[in-house]
Symmetry: C2
Subunit: 468 residues, 2 copies
Amino acid sequence: MAHDIETLKSRLAGITLEENPAIVRQKSRDFFWYSPTLKRQLEDVSADIIAFAASEADVVRILSECFALGIPVTPRGAGTGNYGQAMPLAGGVVLDLSRLDKVLEIGPGRVRVQAGAIIADIDDSCAPTGQELRLHPSTYRTASIGGFIAGGSGGVGSITWGGLRDLGNIIRLRIVTMEASPRILDLTGEEVARVAHAYGTNGIIIEVEMPLAPAHDWIETMIGFDDFGEAGAYANALGEQDAILKKLISVVAAPIPQNYFLRHRKYLPQGKHVVLVMVAAIARDAFAAFTARYTGQTLFRSDLISSDEAKGLPPLYELSWNHTTLRALRVDPTITYLQVLYPFPNQLDLVARIHAALGNEVPAHLEFVRFDGKITCFGLPLIRFTTEERLDEIVAIHEAMGAPIFNPHRYTLEEGGMKQTDAAQLAFKREADPAGLLNPGKMIAWEQPDFDFDTGRTYLFPGLQGTI
Amino acid sequence: MAHDIETLKSRLAGITLEENPAIVRQKSRDFFWYSPTLKRQLEDVSADIIAFAASEADVVRILSECFALGIPVTPRGAGTGNYGQAMPLAGGVVLDLSRLDKVLEIGPGRVRVQAGAIIADIDDSCAPTGQELRLHPSTYRTASIGGFIAGGSGGVGSITWGGLRDLGNIIRLRIVTMEASPRILDLTGEEVARVAHAYGTNGIIIEVEMPLAPAHDWIETMIGFDDFGEAGAYANALGEQDAILKKLISVVAAPIPQNYFLRHRKYLPQGKHVVLVMVAAIARDAFAAFTARYTGQTLFRSDLISSDEAKGLPPLYELSWNHTTLRALRVDPTITYLQVLYPFPNQLDLVARIHAALGNEVPAHLEFVRFDGKITCFGLPLIRFTTEERLDEIVAIHEAMGAPIFNPHRYTLEEGGMKQTDAAQLAFKREADPAGLLNPGKMIAWEQPDFDFDTGRTYLFPGLQGTI
């Protein structure tokens, strides 16, 4: 569908717009290319124009004019998503929120910021108060807080605080609706779930209030194990140490670390399965005592190397979560990945059985988290990609064995999530985006209410550019 | 055995001593009288003399002279224990550490204090840094930190941080040994467990370093339920909310609150089972949203009453843990209590079955905690006391149904704990108290290594004053 961009431009005088096709294309993309499936499907997706909002008033004006002209709007933070969250499947406007980047207020235990603020910058602003955000993705230094909330789920910090979905990890979201006269709403408590992790399909997040945790001096360490099962058991038990404050516990099977963690390579003997840990300096002795109960060998400790030696190394969290995948991809472009939940209490057994079944085709990578009050792990296993059919088979094998997949090779909310309608998100979309102009094609429940998730068939948005 | 107190006095010139029998008796007692059994056994226990240490050097000197004269030494903080921990079964010296009360150093995430400092005073000192201790007993305003570590196990804060036994909840203990030339040792990591919860039987704790948590503005609230099982389910699920920061979740069955929480009575309708919660103000909306999912009714919220109204009320934590027992005892002196662990994952079922079996004789009181990484609950049920035999039966019923008892009617470490030798504590006593002069009679493994815990027979210290 052709959108009336010329009229829109005339009505948005004073707002920064960008039509240079190379820039428009670049700002229409995220890290969807981690997935060969999404790479094939979304390669040609592009907006017609990028609009840069520098204020709440700009957002209201852009949404109002787009509503009047029936032009779709897809919000964008820093574009660090992996599932095409911020990619405008139906063209139209990409609403770039990166200029809404102010830290508005810092108090004890909370911070109020504009949605486009970069997560690391927020922490820098909070540092003088001795506080930092509870949770961040491995794209800490590039991702926006609004994008993390709209398209992410958790990450570094989830071993202590659970996920963004948990009541209390987001205090308040301020959003703008997509209507003739856009409303500004503040959502708290149960209402937060209406728009969190909704990819901007039912409101534009412009401001957020987040809880803060103490900004500890975090020691980065790597513990090496000869046996992968023992590495997992250690990581799980460390997660269950209630008084040892930690921010990250990842398990990466050999030879992932040796082959892909290039700048840490000298610390990584062949064959060692590696547990990455970020632990508070106040727990140094407790952590050492706990670790000494296991056979693991300390390969790396950030507090024991010189600042010169440290200079060449990325932060440990940039070896974890989806940065593990990124490091592998950089070395071997045929690698892709999955997102797996190994449910408590059988997580370690399930990990063992699934990886025994799949072998070298699926190198193991676990991220330990608190989930519904218990310690368990997610997996972001690497996949040596062959075909999309085989990828789907690997997904099916996981699910048949009892490990739900959050499929990163799908661009819809439902297929990337729980494979079911989120009633709260859908109901709120009816209120906040009655014309269905926000980020079209991402919410199946809106686009095709009778879609049957049980067939195993992939949803394909009929309006997807390049496929029509 | 008569101790040579006269010689000791001559050698301790310059150190404050107290021989007034009324004061000596008062300083030889704790809250052992919560237990009718201990009340009978320990009523006549008294030291010969009290020595007040005002410095590390005083402690060294007192221990050295007592060692030379073979006089037993029992350390005392504020005497708020409940099992006779600080009661000198063999007479001799009570070493009062209450004058060692200085806060020495406060840093990010940690505080270093002398052992006799009162817990609430430590928090007051830390308050300007926005920090507070992770854990405290319900005797927050009167207990010393050293006494809490030597004789306690957890309490308020354990819902987030687990117990004192967990690696990381005590950073360092500085102790003095009982030898001709007492040594001063700093214990960290695994070594902490040698003297923590050892009742001062194997070293005198003189200084401690503890982790600090953010000092949140804690909202106190009471949620009332018509059904006790539902109250427990709510409390358990609230405990499992990883992102809602809380400090206390207690469940108190009707009619305990109505009969014994006298100053809160007007908030407590007849028949309501009450969940006491301390929740961080930053989680206010999240907590309200979570609570709205349940049938419970908010009976009390500290942030919604006037400061005038608040003035007459004790802090909520003084209705919880062993203060629940205390409030009941003040109204009905025939009440006593137990200490029960309901192990994960069957805690709620076990609570239901045990209380169904015991009925009104044992009114239910649960304290939810993190324990080995999971949420579960301890019980401090009230007991309508009849005889010691029946009390033992009630203990046996709990254990037979799968709920271990930490028996508060026993004055030994083992019988009040895991009913087995703590090898680390025993080994360290051989090193640090070779003559067995520290708090005699409390460690069975030392006094009678062949004692058989499986007979069900109670250990009776042969040197117990008043029984010989």
